[in-house]
């Protein structure tokens, strides 16, 4: 049995004349936390978008848990156990926290018209169940959120909104979680706290594979098992963070040739 949750081969994405992903090969092993790093515009979010079905690939193949899923719709991928967050926060701000989180459980909830409109007692039971689930999940990140379950999402601060987005991705019990810059806009302390919460959640939820896009190297170092570095849509390096951080090709990608004439010691 294939031990990779995600397997991308020769993945190519073009935007007009721009090659966002250039025949990319990428594997994500079951249960690992993979860091995805690279300079701006190197194709990290594009990769997430293609894998989650939001963009169509122009070439190559994607296998999810051994099954070919290239060109499937976002809904089909969600059904197979994929969940993600977005680089730019995508919460429905005029809806309550609960409404936002429970969206992540869409595939598990009974959306039959008759059930929802007429079988009110069954609906009430299901509602109670999910209110509890939401509360438990949010409590791992911030216990205060459980009292604000029915407040509008817009009344939450930035970090809490991030937490809500992550909970939205987690409540459906996905196999693979794609996190796109979860710590953007946060201070160092807030970021460390979020990462601790994330690790705690993963411990609770059992086997969950995570891919994190980050610019904050401290996060990558602290949390990931392995890293992949992209540049101009290609993979230029992979390995443990310590190895990747000192790789001259990686330094050149970030700092340019002028600064990589002589290798600098470990940070």
């Amino acid at each position: 049995m294939n031990n990779n949750v995600l397997d991308c081969r020769g993945l190519t994405v073009r935007f007009g004349g721009v090659l966002a992903l250039n025949a990319l090969d990428l594997e994500v092993g079951r249960g690992e936390i993979l860091g995805l790093i690279g300079p701006n515009g190197s194709g990290k979010t594009t990769l997430f978008n293609v894998v989650s079905g939001v963009y169509r690939s122009d070439g190559g193949s994607i296998q999810f848990d051994g099954e070919a899923v290239t060109r499937l719709s976002p809904q089909a991928l969600c059904r197979r156990g994929l969940a993600r967050t977005f680089q730019r926060s995508r919460l429905c701000l005029s809806l309550s926290v609960f409404d936002n989180v429970v969206l992540g459980a869409y595939r598990r909830i009974n959306s039959g018209v008759v059930h929802n409109m007429f079988r009110r007692r069954a609906f009430a039971d299901e509602l109670k169940l999910y209110v509890e689930k939401c509360g438990e999940l949010l409590a791992i990140f911030n216990p205060q959120l459980t009292t604000r379950l029915f407040d509008p999402a817009i009344s939450l601060g930035m970090i809490d909104r991030r937490r809500v987005e992550i909970c939205r991705a987690l409540i459906g019990q996905p196999k693979l979680l794609l996190l796109d810059e979860p710590s953007a806009g946060m201070t160092q302390d807030e970021t460390s706290q979020l990462m601790r919460e994330l690790i705690a959640v993963r411990r609770q939820l059992g086997s969950l594979t995570i891919v994190i896009i980050e610019h904050e190297m401290g996060v990558i170092e602290q949390v990931t098992d392995r890293c992949v570095v992209l540049n101009y849509g290609r993979k230029i390096c992979e390995g443990r963070f310590a190895e990747v951080a000192t790789d001259p090709v990686v330094r050149e990608a970030y700092l340019g040739r002028a600064y990589t004439k002589s290798p600098v010691g470990p940070a």
């Binding site: 976002p74 809904q75 969940a83 429905c92 809806l95 969206l103 595939r107």
Partner: protein, 384 residues
């Protein structure tokens, strides 16, 4: 639930009676100056209620005691009918307001819940009306079937537009229903078999053997036969509220909202966007057709110029003015839009102009409408 949030049933009950009373009063009084004075009083009362947080209390109460609210509305309606028992025109107008509000609720489901723009609503109402008129040629068809059948025909006609509605967004989507509204008007005007510009006549309703052209007699009390239509319209309005509220206060409401607010995020979490848009579009069209058919049979006569672009715009305006997404807001909004021009005869000529000015003012001052939609609180124990 904290004690601060646990409300009493009284605010909702009182509000129902007060509103019914206001409606009946405006419908009954003929003297224009008195009507204007009354309206000023109501406006002041309304604004005071908003300031003092009374409306919030009423909404909380209504949310927690739906059965009390329904009972109160029924009793209040019956009281209003009894009050207006001789006033044919007043009863007719109340029935019209209720049917109009039903169309607005259908539009709320499409627009306020699912985010589908519909600038041809009058075309759907008209489809229901003309369907009823055509069914009129089959006198053996019982009226309940006529009404439901008209709703279904409207759904079928609407389903022809599903493909463009689902594939387009924004302004391009607006064109689809806008064009349909115009097409409907042109079609019925040009087709002689549908009466052309002259329109069609219909017989009144007979439900379960009771002919609606009979006055209601209770002991020695005689109530004009239009009360039959008021009660039917009330039942249809109640059905509309039922559909809208069950949709909204369930998982479906959340899915509809998320489709409206963010299609990409919804898709990523598995939401079948097309299916929910179809549901909302269909439900709204059914209500429009049902209301249109009832209206047609009540009036006894329909013509193409009952269902013009201006009427579509009036419906959309009522939905926006009542607070977009607020299903109860349709009622006061339509009450104002329907009753005022009728009651204030001197503004009849200027009604469209005044109406347009009011809409412009409100859109500029309060874009979310007069009564904004409350956030959904699906707290366990509060589910109706």
């Amino acid at each position: 639930m904290t004690s601060a949030q646990r409300a009493a049933p009284w605010p909702a009950i009182i509000a129902a009676f007060v509103f019914a009373g206001m409606l009946a009063a405006v419908a009954a009084i003929d003297n224009q100056r008195l009507v204007i004075a009354l309206l000023c009083v109501f406006a002041v009362v309304w604004m005071a209620a908003m300031r003092l947080g009374v409306l919030a209390r009423v909404e909380r109460s209504a949310g927690q005691y739906p059965h009390a609210l329904r009972g109160a509305i029924l009793l209040a309606a019956l009281a209003a009918v009894a009050l207006l028992h001789e006033d044919n025109f007043g009863l007719l107008m109340i029935a019209t307001v209720l049917l109009y509000a039903t169309c607005c609720i259908g539009l709320t489901i499409q627009l306020g819940y699912a985010g589908l723009s519909n600038f041809g609503a009058a075309g759907f109402v008209g489809t229901g009306a003309y369907a009823a008129a055509v069914f009129n040629w089959l006198p053996w068809l019982p009226d309940p079937l006529v009404l439901v059948g008209a709703g279904l025909i409207t759904v079928i006609v609407g389903s022809l537009l599903l493909l463009p509605v689902l594939r387009t967004r924004g302004h391009y989507a607006a064109l689809t229903t806008l064009a349909f509204g115009i097409m409907f008007g042109v079609f019925v005007d040009a087709t002689p078999v549908l009466g052309g510009p002259q329109g069609l006549k219909l017989a009144g309703i007979t439900l379960l053997g009771w002919d609606f052209s009979n006055d209601i007699r209770v002991a020695n009390f005689v109530i004009s036969f239009y009360a039959n239509y008021v009660l039917l319209a009330l039942a249809i309005f109640a059905l509309a509220i039922f559909i809208a509220s069950r949709l909204d206060r369930s998982w479906l409401g959340i899915w509809l909202d998320s489709v409206r607010l963010d299609e990409t995020a919804s898709a990523v979490f598995g939401v079948n966007i097309g299916w929910w848009k179809i549901l909302a579009f269909t439900a709204g069209n059914f209500l429009a057709g049902l209301a249109g058919a009832t209206y047609a049979q009540m009036m006894g006569f329909i013509a193409p110029n009952n269902f013009t672009l201006a009427d579509s715009l009036m419906l959309v305006s009522a939905v926006i003015l009542g607070g977009i997404g607020n299903r109860w807001g349709a009622l006061p909004a339509t009450a104002i839009l329907v009753l005022l021009p009728e009651k204030l005869q001197f503004i009849q000529e200027y009604r469209l102009l005044l109406f347009a000015i009011v809409v412009v003012v409100i859109l500029m001052a309060s874009p979310a409408g007069l009564v904004p939609r409350r956030i959904r609180r699906l707290e366990p124990g509060v589910v109706a």
